[in-house]
Amino acid sequence: MSVTILTAYDQRPDGLDGLDGPDGTGEFAYRAGGTDLQERLRTTGATPHILDLTGVPGFAAVERTDDGTTLGAGVTVAALARDLAGDYPALALTAGGLATPQVRTAATIGGNLLQRTRCWYFRHPHTSCFKSGGDSCPARDGRHLYGNVFDTAPCVHPHPSSLAMALLTYAATVDTTQRDGLAVGEVLGDGSDPTRDHLLADDEVLTRVVLPPPAPGEQAAYFRSISRFEAEWPLVEAVVRVVRDDAGTVTSCGVAIGGVAPVPLRLAAVEALLTGSTLDDDTVARAAASAAQGANPLPETGYKVALVEATVREVLERVRG
């Protein structure tokens, strides 16, 4: 079986814009860090055509202007954690809290947003589900301990992108080879099409993530509820960013949670409660409680209702200092 490796660098020496998939038919895959794709290739034995994006000029560039900060799709998670800690602490803390040091070194922001689901049915070589060519979600009637607690879509496993969660709190946008200025929600959708983890077209490549200008004085906290020390997919994760005035009153904030729904959720109601408050005990408690409102757990995810509240409460108390 022959395999074609196309390097984007060979194809488009000027960068990613206007990049097309390979000519002809057949399975193909884009590859950046490879931390998701290589695992799936080994498990399935698939040999698709691979369009390898590394080495494209600007792929891993961070560009700061007055209008904001532009992150090339190939900026690594480790670079986010290291280089954005001052300007965008919510994103940096989230980046530093996911996976392991080696994965963070290799994985990219683009790949993190567009990775496939981590559901154990999807990753199993002998099952089929909505996302692997089947017509059902075997986890729904099967085992879904790590599944959604906001059960709003046919597929029950949460979206795996922690960075998408953090980007929601910044109202960041995404550029592709075909479109500019997409909201994160437009890229990931709402899960109503259970066959997809994102809504980009097959021949559309994510090129950049654009953040608004840094908010001076931003403080942030990130927490993932897991069973072990580190390096585990979150049961529930949460991130908060706040800006407070001299009196300690919250003037702006962003709160989002992951591990709970088909896509990460920005919590507008929680943000409304926090804004104008001094993050006093009562507000924190009410905000945390409201985070789980509307939860409709699956048979095995009832514990996540309490954990959503606990995890949001944790980040709020941490950011309060």
């Binding site: 490796i5 290799a106 085992r143």
Partner: protein, 875 residues
């Protein structure tokens, strides 16, 4: 496509197809097998290598990334550290790992070493010789897993290297460096060869076609023209679990073999099946074994043959172990009707725990010479495997050689002749070429065994006034999938007085993958139930749990451990149960362990002199349990030389010994030590200590023999003789429960182990620390999960099957009580099993002490803890 890369300072040009990963290029393309492939999904870090100085995961890094890069694998690490005046060229981190025994089986070691070197070099540049704290080391090495649980040694090694204590070979300043594990230098440099590393000229690669249905009948299989394959189903053509091997095919490459296996046409007629044990036990459930003849095919989950027991549908048993059993039942019945305070009755559940040895099951069979079969096998018993292979293939055992130079863990799942060995040998016979068959992680985590899940009902009756034990009954249903022969409840017969008691063991068979022996089979399972019941009894009567056990326990060695445990500051400072109200609640728990004493009386050891050096050899293997070191130390002691001055050769072919023990059942060290001492003593009597002057090849052989008059059972079965007496353990654990997030951290574990004299103290400590880590995995994280509708194993990767990480390691204090085994040659018995029985139960009791909520179901995941506290279980 072709790419150029520089690996360990050598420029190499290699052909890649673009889908493969860096680890494939390095191992298969360049033959650098020091780098290991374990999880294949970026979780365990065993394949870590440096690319342009950065640690990267070999399994997830595309091979194309190595183009024009500078790559350093574990084989190239030594040279990086060679200019410190050391002389041995090893990097300080490598020497520190050897000195502090930061390894056991060694399979994860190359990855740890490479990443620890990167951390060390970075740390030293920024912090000089300041010591990093455990948190810093844990975060830096969070991408690594070790199944043996060598984490304490790894912490010690990394910290010592960062302190600069290993900058020069032999140690820096006042630190005198030693190699504790004699093969450590080979393991920290990647030179140690495991079965998965064996490459033979003209070798074929084999792959297994497995069933993705849980039950059915397979029609005749026709292999496509030119495809070499064998059918591995039994005569009844029946599949009984999802993942069961159906056929094995061989091809020139592994990828091709996998493709052929995947695409093989298998005529399959599905049949009804049952996955849930409760459903399986109901009348009318689909039968896993339909006929009497079928039932004889049931594999055993234990080390011995199953006890004869009746069948009723899918229920096999009970097998009963009574001591005044009727009286025990009657006393408990009447105490129940009287509502007696002294009757404690609880029901416990445990989840199946997967062995997941980091070296998968693997075999390379070379039968290209029709007169001589050579088998490289990742096994716990080279001697037994030679006999079993000879028997299976109807060969003279002298025409069979089984080699296991290094074994990357086994934990009980590599004791028998498994299908991959039979298949590889069969394919080699057909092709007259060497054949390699290595399981991938998915296969390893699906079908190579597990510590079965269970349900145990315990009734313990004590006198209301004195708390003397009046009666005990234990009923255990074991859930070993298609396997039978579990012995869990029966282990309750050996502890706490000779009071009336009745133990009943039942196997409920289902169409799930078979269980297999796992370190102390049944032991941690019974301890989880019995030791919590004892704890509950102590709590009910306001008694000190250690003091109550001491009141009942007739084992003098465990009495000594109780005295030790009672005096521990951790124990003395324990809070009153349920007294804490804050978010974080600390608690301390105790549990006792008990195990049998086994020995292999047929063990032979040969000691000889070759070119002035001592050589000790026998037909044993070393899966990180220290057999090489034990042999070297035994001989070194007789000749008063350093253990590293003794060469150790393992395996039959190069030993001259006719038999050696399996690495299992805690029988290995007690069989090897005194035999090696005897052989060395008789050689020394002949030649004195002047090795240089000794005739080359002069040798002495000794045989272990039984302990005179000391057998508990007057027969030897399968290389095991049951000796008299029980080894003992007591574990005291301190936990911190986060009542907000449901997470339990184990902060500190004290392990008291009474196995008599310790022959290799540093290694023994490592193994006991590993037992604690595995017990924490059992207690808090590990849980095989099957799909209820198909029986497929969902936890077939190390992302979803969660084993303890470096950062989950508590501070571990191991205490050896060395008295009490003087009548055994060498003065000590094995510890592999007894050290593993009570850690999980002690964690359970500590959680109860911390929260007032008793965890009855394993593992105690955050969801269970939150639910338990929410439901008002907290007192």
């Amino acid at each position: 496509m072709e790419l150029t890369t520089t690996v360990n300072d050598e420029t190499r040009v290699v052909e890649v197809d673009g889908t493969e990963s860096a680890v494939d290029l390095v191992r298969d393309g360049l033959g650098l097998t020091g780098t290991k492939l374990v999880c294949g999904s970026g979780v365990c870090g065993a394949c870590t290598m440096l690319v342009d100085g950065e640690p990267v995961l070999g399994c997830l890094t595309p091979a194309t990334r190595l183009r024009d890069a500078s790559v350093t694998t574990v084989e190239g690490i030594a040279r990086r550290g060679g200019d410190d005046g050391g002389g041995d060229d090893l990097h300080p981190v490598q020497r520190a790992f050897a000195h502090h025994d930061g390894l056991q089986c060694g399979y994860c070691t190359p990855g740890f070493v490479v990443d620890a070197v990167a951390f060390h070099d970075r740390w030293r540049a920024e912090h000089g010789t300041d010591e990093p704290d455990r948190q810093a080391v844990a975060e830096a090495l969070a991408g690594h897993l070790c199944r043996c649980g060598a984490y304490e040694g790894i912490y010690r090694a990394v910290a010592a290297a960062c302190r600069g204590e290993h900058d020069a070979a032999g140690g820096s300043g006042e630190h005198v460096e030693r190699v504790e594990r004699v093969e450590a230098p080979a393991k920290v440099t990647g030179a140690a060869v495991y079965t998965t590393d064996v490459v033979r000229p003209g070798m074929l690669h084999a792959a297994i076609r497995r069933s993705d249905h849980a039950a059915g009948v397979v029609g005749p299989i026709t292999f496509p023209d030119g495809v070499l394959g064998i059918d591995v189903l039994g005569e009844d053509r029946r599949v009984r679990w999802a993942g069961q091997p159906i056929a094995v095919v061989a091809a020139e490459t592994q990828a091709e073999a996998r493709r052929l296996a995947r695409e093989l046409a298998v005529p399959f007629t599905p049949e009804p099946f049952v996955i849930d044990p409760d459903e399986a036990a109901r009348p009318g459930a689909p039968l896993v074994y339909a006929t009497k003849a079928d039932r004889k095919e049931a594999p055993t989950a234990s080390e011995g043959a199953p006890m004869p027991a009746p069948w009723d549908g899918n229920v096999h048993g009970p097998s009963r172990a009574p001591f005044l059993g009727t009286l025990a039942k009657r006393r408990i019945r009447s105490a129940r009707s009287e509502g007696r305070k002294g009757l404690v009755e609880l029901e416990f559940h445990t989840a199946a725990q997967l062995h997941t040895a980091f070296e998968p099951h693997a075999c390379v069979a070379d039968w290209s010479d029709p007169q001589y079969l050579r088998v490289w096998l990742s096994t716990q018993g080279v001697a037994a495997m030679r006999l079993e292979i000879a028997d299976h293939f109807d060969l003279d055992p002298t025409h069979v050689e089984v080699v296991a130079e290094h074994v990357g863990g086994g934990f009980g799942a590599k004791l028998g002749l498994t299908m991959e060995a039979v298949a590889a040998i069969s394919l080699s016979r057909l092709s007259r070429r060497p054949v390699r068959l290595v399981l991938d992680r998915h296969e390893e985590l699906t079908g190579t065994g597990n510590r079965p899940g269970s349900r145990s009902r315990v009734s313990l009756l004590v006198d209301d006034d004195t708390q003397a034990v009046r009666a005990l009954t234990v009923d255990t249903d074991s859930h070993a999938g298609i396997a039978v022969g579990n012995s869990v409840a029966a282990l309750a017969m050996f502890l706490y007085d000779r009071t009336p008691r009745l133990a009943r063991d039942v196997d409920v068979v289902t169409n799930a993958p078979p269980g297999a022996p796992f370190r102390g089979p049944g032991g941690p399972t019974i301890a989880w139930a019995l030791e919590q019941t004892v704890d509950e009894t102590a709590h009910r009567f306001g008694r000190d749990p250690i003091e109550l056990r001491a009141q009942w326990d007739g084992n003098p060695k465990r009495q000594a451990l109780y005295r030790w445990a009672s005096a521990l500051p951790t124990w003395q400072g324990r809070p009153a149960t349920g007294s804490q109200t804050g978010r974080y609640r600390r608690g301390v728990g105790v549990a006792a362990g008990n195990w049998m004493y086994f020995v292999d009386p047929d063990c032979e050891v040969v000691v000889r002199v070759e070119a002035g050096r001592l050589v000790v050899s026998t037909a044993v293997q070393d899966m990180g349990t220290g057999s090489r070191t034990v042999l070297a130390r035994a001989v070194a002691g007789v000749f008063d030389v350093e253990p590293t001055a003794v060469d150790v050769r393992l395996g039959l072919a190069n030993s001259g010994a006719t038999h050696g023990p399996a690495s299992g059942g805690s029988r290995t060290t007690v069989s090897l030590w005194s035999t090696a001492v005897d052989a060395a003593t008789s050689l020394r009597a002949r030649i004195g200590t002047d090795l240089a002057g000794a005739p080359d090849g002069v040798s002495a052989t000794a045989k272990r023999g039984g302990d005179r008059g000391m057998r508990a059972v007057p027969v030897t079965m399968g290389g095991i003789q049951v000796g008299r007496g029980f080894s003992a353990a007591v574990h005291v654990s301190e936990v911190e429960v986060d009542t907000r997030t449901g997470k339990t951290r184990v902060l500190r574990v004290h392990g008291g182990i009474a196995v008599g004299r310790i022959h290799a103290p540093v290694l023994a400590r490592s193994q006991c620390e590993g037992s604690v880590i595995q017990g924490i995995g059992l207690a808090l994280y590990e849980n095989q999960v099957l799909d209820p509708h198909t029986g497929l194993t969902l936890t077939a990767n190390l992302e979803d099957y969660r084993i303890p990480q470096l950062g989950d390691t508590p501070e571990i204090d191991i205490h050896f009580h060395e008295d009490g085994w003087d009548r055994v040659p060498g003065g000590g018995v094995g510890l592999g099993e007894v050290a593993t029985i009570s850690p999980a139960a002690s964690v359970g009791n500590a959680i109860f002490n911390a929260t007032g909520w008793r965890p009855l179901t394993l593992p105690v995941r955050p969801d269970r803890l939150l639910e338990g506290l929410r439901a008002g279980g907290a007192r």
